[in-house]
């Protein structure tokens, strides 16, 4: 398979040599791809603009020894301009693509691809606030990866909820009887918001108070950092005021 073609969303780029870039993409069928785009940093480049982060493109690649080489790219959706026009959206999208970069591998996950494209589209169209869109993305992305948190039943005993103690290490909310000393106790409205973020109940999310949103963001960040082991660098730069 020396030459292949796939749809991919650009996660990040690194400068290479004089005018090239290494482009990291999450593709629909081939998982995460790292490929060289030659000459894209030159202003005369024909496809440099199509290989910026947050762009969805139909790419043709040639299999190389260590890195593949991008031979063609056609734009399918261009979210970069709309996202970078709002600083809050930009920081949220950066955290999304960094998560996707860390959570996916070469095997591929169609669900992760569709989730990321959907989240970027939602940010670009300003459907919901950037902060809640990011939190919802993080919870769902971790769920697809096998780390689905529980926000109703106890994550340890399975005892039906609602519960208010949250322990990232135990996988979500836990019953009072099994909550370790020092466990964070959440407001019931925050627990409800977290469940809504995970299930995509946007009516509940959009009507939540600022206090619940802030508390939920802290919980999601702690849960994500715990499961990804290596911290997300972009998470500390997310503009939560937006």
């Amino acid at each position: 398979m020396p030459l292949y073609r796939d749809e991919a969303v650009v996660l990040r780029t690194h400068k290479l040599g004089e005018a090239d870039r290494i482009v990291t993409m999450l593709s629909r069928q081939h998982g995460k791809i790292r490929a060289v785009a030659k000459g894209v940093r030159r202003t005369a480049s024909k496809f440099g603009a199509r290989l910026e982060p947050f762009m969805v493109a139909d790419v043709q690649l040639y299999e190389g020894r260590s890195l593949d080489i991008i031979t063609q790219a056609e734009s399918l959706a261009s979210y970069g301009a709309d996202i970078s026009a709002d600083y809050g959206c930009y920081t949220a999208a950066s955290a999304m693509v960094e998560t996707a970069d860390k959570i996916t591998d070469d095997d591929g996950s169609l669900q992760q691809y569709l989730l990321l494209v959907g989240a970027l589209r939602s940010l670009a169209r300003r459907e919901h606030g950037p902060s809640v869109t990011l939190d919802s993305y993080l919870l769902r992305s971790l769920s697809i990866a096998g780390w689905a948190p529980s926000f109703v039943d106890c994550a340890v005993t399975g005892e039906p909820g609602p519960h208010t103690y949250f322990v990232p290490q135990l996988g979500g909310v836990v019953a009072d009887s099994v909550a370790p000393p020092g466990a964070a106790r959440l407001d019931p409205a925050t627990v409800s918001l977290l469940g809504a973020l995970l299930s995509g109940d946007w009516t509940t999310v959009d009507t939540a108070s600022d206090l619940s949103r802030n508390q939920a963001s802290g919980v999601v960040a702690a849960y994500t950092q715990f499961h990804l082991e290596r911290g997300l660098r972009s998470l500390q730069h997310v503009d939560r005021r937006a």
Partner: protein
């Protein structure tokens, strides 16, 4: 692997950006084999550049003195500041001979994924320069890529002040190119930034 000092030279050259092992080896052998190559002069220049060159305390451009030649030049307009990412962008704009104001070098662009936030750039220094009210226009000339655009968005939000005009460099079609070969993003920008032609 070569022996001793030759390998050391190849390794040191290979640490430079854009120079891989093969290029490092080629440069090392050029230095060794070419009689006309003045190694002493190269070594002196490398030492000199580290000792003499520093960053301008006003704009952040490279300079051999405390302030750079542009900031010291009394003929330049002190009412306009052009904000760029890197010192090499100053040279690129100077080549146009279109701009006669001052510069401000940010030292990069906001890139959360690389851990670079607004506090890691020289944004605070820019705000201090605008404090006395002398500057009436800020031209944001960050790179026309995602990080550059996001940095421009951040700066625009920060620079909302009375009596201060904030503008962004236009982007669009390269001079000498064919329209049919332009990608849709660039062409879209060109349409967005079109200007009225006056008779």
């Amino acid at each position: 692997m070569y022996e001793g000092i030759v390998q050391e030279l190849i390794d040191e050259l290979g640490r430079l950006p854009g120079i891989g092992p093969k290029s490092a080896q080629r440069i090392a052998f050029h230095i060794l084999q070419t009689e006309t190559f003045d190694v002493r002069r190269l070594a002196e220049v490398l030492l000199e550049v580290r000792e003499k060159v520093r960053f301008c305390t006003i704009c952040g451009n490279v300079s051999e003195q405390e302030t750079c030649s542009i900031c010291r030049d009394p003929r330049r307009s002190h009412t306009t500041i052009c904000v760029v990412e890197e010192a090499k962008d100053v040279v690129a704009i100077e080549r146009t001979r279109e701009f006669r104001g001052l510069y401000h070098v940010l030292g990069g662009a906001i890139s959360p994924i690389d851990g670079i936030g607004p506090d890691d750039l020289r944004i605070r220094e820019l705000m201090q320069r605008l404090g006395d009210g002398t500057v009436t226009e800020v031209i944001i000339a960050t790179d026309p890529n995602l990080e550059g655009e996001a940095t421009a968005t951040y700066l625009t939000r920060l620079l909302v002040q009375p009596n201060l005009r904030v503008s962004r460099l236009a982007s669009g079609l390269p001079v000498g190119g064919d329209l049919e070969y332009a990608d849709e993003v660039t062409l879209g920008r060109a349409f967005e930034g079109r200007r009225t032609v006056e008779a």
